[in-house]
Structure formats: structure tokens, C-alpha cells
């Protein structure tokens, strides 16, 4: 997309890249993980680790297909976690069935459309309880800095900062939990090769 800034990707650029390439995929990846991951695999942990890997990458300009890349990262993390747990004699067991499903791969048949993503953002903000809602509208829709928001609302900057943090916390949670409502996404262009129907 944008020209590769190979050496010095600033965190904000990386955040942008993740926002554009990976976030739309996250709920699908989570749904897929719930389907294929053996018991004992902590999905939230896997997702956090996967984002960490993307964050720490020196350069992402070589990643032609971020979806496939993210999927590979997640898959590897699941396998790692299964191995680790198996060594520790923990609950997660690697049965051939789940391994097979893991190898079968991930087909992102229902990526959120741009419109749905925007709707999701809008919902995320407008569902917040006050005063976080007002603060997020001012910060994110009207693009006012925290300092100005504090002045306009007549509260301390510290208060605004706390509400931003709490509101964002709620939104993070919505982003992990929203896949159930978002499954009616854009009309797929081509009928997906049904992945074998093995996971009824």
C-alpha cells in the first residue's frame, strides 16, 4: 500500500498497518481458533502473542499477504502452546483431528466490509457509557485533543485520560467479542470452496 519505510517504521505506522490489515481479520481468526483449537489453548493469549510478533517485526513491507501471514503466526503460536502444555502434562492435547483442522487452514470468507467496520467503530463509541461516550465522540469523531476536551468539559486532564483508558478498555473487549454479530458480512464475491464440512 503505502511506500515501504523499511528501516525506521514508527510505532504509529505499525499501528496503522495493523489497523488496516489485521484488525478486520481478528474476529474471524478468533472464531476459527474457537473451532480448531484444542481445549486448554488460551485464545486471548494467542491473539496477544500474535500481535506482539507483528509489533516487533523489523519491517512489514515484505509481507505481501498480511492475512495469510497473520494466520501462519497464529497457527504457529497454537502449535507452540500445545507443545508447551503437552510437555508440562497440561490439559491441551494434540489429537490428530485438531491438528488436521489446523492444517486445513483458515479461509477468511467473511471479512468485515469497510462499511461494517465503520459501523462497528460507530457502535463501539456510541455504546460507551457517559462520560466516556462524550469524551470519545469529542476525541475520535471531532478530533479534539484530550487537553481541549478537559477544558470544554471543565474537568481535569487526568479525568479525561482515565475515561479514555477505561473507554478504550471496553472497546478492546467489544472487538474481541463482536464476531457473533458481525458474521453477516459482505457478500462473498465467489462461493467459498467449502472447507470440507468437517467441522459441522
Amino acid at each position: 500500500m503505502r511506500p515501504a519505510v523499511s528501516m525506521s517504521v514508527k510505532p504509529s505506522d505499525r499501528a496503522q498497518w495493523i489497523a488496516a490489515q489485521i484488525l478486520p481479520l481478528e474476529s474471524q481468526i478468533r472464531a476459527w481458533l474457537r473451532r480448531i483449537a484444542p481445549r486448554g489453548v488460551e485464545i486471548d493469549d494467542v491473539i496477544q502473542e500474535a500481535y506482539a510478533i507483528l509489533w516487533k517485526l523489523h519491517d512489514v513491507s515484505h509481507i505481501r499477504n498480511p492475512r495469510a501471514y497473520f494466520y501462519q503466526v497464529v497457527k504457529r503460536l497454537v502449535l507452540d502452546q500445545i507443545r508447551r502444555d503437552a510437555l508440562g502434562g497440561a490439559a491441551a492435547t494434540l489429537d490428530t483431528d485438531s491438528l488436521g483442522r489446523l492444517e486445513e487452514g483458515f479461509t477468511p470468507e467473511r471479512i468485515l466490509s469497510g462499511r461494517q467496520e465503520l459501523d462497528r467503530l460507530y457502535r463501539a463509541i456510541t455504546r460507551l457509557v457517559e462520560p466516556a461516550r462524550t469524551i470519545f465522540i469529542m476525541r475520535k469523531i471531532e478530533n479534539l485533543p484530550q487537553k481541549v476536551i478537559a477544558e470544554r468539559l471543565g474537568v481535569s486532564e487526568h479525568t479525561v485520560e482515565n475515561h479514555v483508558a477505561r473507554g478504550l478498555r471496553v472497546i478492546l473487549l467489544q472487538f474481541s467479542a463482536e464476531e457473533k454479530t458481525s458474521s453477516s458480512a459482505g457478500t462473498p464475491l465467489i462461493p467459498q470452496r467449502s472447507a470440507g464440512g468437517s467441522d459441522a
Binding site: 500500500m1 505499525r14 496477544q48 509489533w55 469497510g114 462499511r115 467503530l121
Partner: protein, 321 residues
């Protein structure tokens, strides 16, 4: 034993909020330590930052609320949000630079492939510029002129009755008069104007009598002339502003049109060497940032296949599958 993911998320949210208001040197050090302590801290922080960043796109709802049926005026007033945007305009242009028109260039802003950006204008209006687009802004005491030189742009116009806001694209002029409207200009002499709310006035250099067009109306402009207007459905209106949201709507477009649009957003270009193929209609929608997926999908829909040639993906017929 392991820190629960939701505790980490709380901490990450705190850091993103602090980062947003600016960190002290001491805090920067604390953040580094925290990030280094556990890779999941880092991942949660990355995700929180990305979502925080993603939320910036909610700014389009300033416009969207106008473009749709201004859904919740009550809610807006409840939130003490100033109702500043009285007009929003979307201009679509896909013409090669047209020279001339005025002799004193002012602020020019442009975007690269795949980049959609937003700028505030000095009068309180804002412009959202689509990929590979360029405008020049020329604000004078009596008028606010914006010239769209290439690509497409969406304007949110702040009300100022004494200073009309006029968007010029090729030979066409569109004047905002307390409205929301879309303009789609396809070449130096071809354009379309769609009004979603209120009324606009349209004229061209060769036909200076302004024509009014009101909500739901749509006109085609060609060769300096303004055709009779027709009505558009809500879905059609929505489709016209989809470019801001990363989705490329294919329905109603030919392969050639979809390719032209897609190529504006991406470095990797798609080419169609067969004119019959190029005129085939498509349906559905795809991500506007994934030419490969688009090419594969279009190929399977049209019975063509994709050949990679350097920086281009060529769609052609005649292959086996």
C-alpha cells in the same frame, strides 16, 4: 500465575491513553520496561494502539450523519456537539490533470496510492481525499474555491452564507447551499452529481445558467451539458461513498471500471488485455487493498485466468482454468 489477558488489556489501554496526551520522559521509560516484561504486554499494546488508531476513522460519521438522514439530531444536541457541518460534498474525478483555470496556486494537497486522508480547511470545513487524488484550495474573502485536479474527495462544508463554497472539477462548478451532495467526475468533460440532502447548484463553463438539483437527484454531465436528472436509491448513494471505507463495490461495474478504480489504490496493478473481457459486468464487493484477491475472484467469475507479469497481474482468457 500468568497474568490474565484482560488485566493486560487494561494496562495497555492506560498506556495508549497516556501516550495520546503525551508521555513524560519518566513515563516513556516505564512504558519500555512494561513492554519488555512480557510479549503479551507488547501484543496487547500493539492491538490497543491499532484499535485506537482505527477509531480515527469514526470521523467520517461527522459526514455520514449528514449524508444519511441525519439520524440523531437529538443525540447530537444532547452531546452538546456543535452542528457545524451544513453541507458535505463528495467529488469523484478520474481525469488527468487539467491545466489552467486560475493563475495563483494556493495550498495543494494530494494523496498517494492506498492512502485516504483528511484535512481540516481554514474555514472549519474538512476534506477527505481519496487515494491518488489532488486538490488545490483557494480561499478568498468572498469565495471558498476548491479545485479537484484528480481522484476523488469528500467535502464537509462549514456554513458561511457570505462566502459560498464552490468545488470546481474540470469545466463543472458545484456550489454548496446548505446541502449534502456527491459529484462524480469521470473524465475532463464527464461528471455526475448526486444530491443526498438539500439542494445544490450546478453549472459549467459552457453553460453558465445554474441548474438546481435536490435530494436523491442525480445528473450526468458530459461535454459541458447537464442531462435531465434521475432519482437514486439509498443503496446507490451509499455505494458512491464506499471508497472511504476500504471496500470496492463491483456491482454495476465492468471489469475495466473496477480495475481502474482498484489500480488507484494499489501499487500492484491489474491489467486486462482483452476488450471483451474488460467489458464484462461484475457483482459483489472486495477489499480495495488486495489486487491479488480481486484478480483471482474476477478470473473465477468471468472464466479468465491470472498471469503475473512483473508488477502487474494480467487477466486474460484462453488459458485452461
Amino acid at each position: 500465575m500468568r497474568e490474565p489477558a484482560d488485566i493486560i488489556d487494561s494496562q495497555a489501554s492506560g498506556w495508549v491513553s497516556r501516550l495520546d496526551r503525551g508521555l513524560s520522559t519518566e513515563e516513556e521509560a516505564t512504558l519500555s520496561t512494561w513492554l519488555a516484561a512480557d510479549s503479551r504486554h507488547c501484543g496487547a499494546f500493539a492491538r490497543a494502539q491499532a484499535i485506537w488508531r482505527d477509531l480515527d476513522r469514526a470521523q467520517v460519521f461527522q459526514i455520514a450523519e449528514e449524508l444519511r438522514h441525519a439520524p440523531s439530531r437529538a443525540a447530537r444536541e444532547q452531546n452538546n456537539r456543535p452542528r457545524r457541518w451544513v453541507a458535505a460534498a463528495v467529488l469523484f474525478v478520474s481525469m488527468a490533470g487539467v491545466a489552467g483555470w486560475y493563475s495563483y496556486p494556493r495550498n495543494a494537497v494530494s494523496t498517494a496510492a492506498g492512502e485516504v486522508r483528511q484535512w481540516p480547511l481554514s474555514d472549519g470545513s474538512r476534506v477527505v481525499l481519496d487515494a491518488r487524488s489532488r486538490i488545490t484550495i483557494q480561499f478568498e474573502p468572498a469565495t471558498r474555491l476548491v479545485r479537484l485536479e484528480s481522484g476523488q474527495a469528500l467535502f464537509e462544508v462549514a456554513k458561511d452564507a457570505a462566502r459560498p463554497f464552490i468545488v470546481v472539477a474540470g469545466p463543472y462548478h458545484v456550489r454548496a447551499v446548505g446541502t449534502a451532495f456527491l459529484v462524480n467526475i469521470e473524465s475532463a468533460s464527464q461528471a455526475e452529481v448526486t444530491v443526498t440532502k438539500g439542494t445544490v447548484q450546478i453549472w459549467s463553463e459552457s453553460d453558465a445558467t445554474p441548474r438546481s438539483l435536490s435530494a436523491g437527484g442525480h445528473v450526468a454531465l458530459a461535454n459541458g451539458k447537464i442531462a435531465p436528472s434521475e432519482e437514486l436509491t439509498h443503496e446507490q448513494l451509499e455505494r458512491l461513498i464506499d471508497w472511504r471505507s476500504g471496500v470496492l463495490n463491483l456491482t454495476g461495474k465492468t471489469l475495466a471500471q473496477a480495475v481502474a478504480e482498484l489500480n488507484r489504490y494499489n501499487q500492484l496493478h491489474v491489467a486486462v488485455d482483452d476488450t471483451n473481457l474488460a467489458s464484462e459486468p461484475l457483482i459483489g464487493q472486495v477489499s480495495d487493498s488486495d489486487p491479488e484477491a480481486f484478480a483471482q475472484a474476477a478470473a473465477s467469475m468471468l472464466g479468465a485466468h491470472v498471469r503475473r507479469d512483473g508488477d502487474r497481474l494480467i487477466l486474460e482468457r484462453g488459458g485452461k482454468k
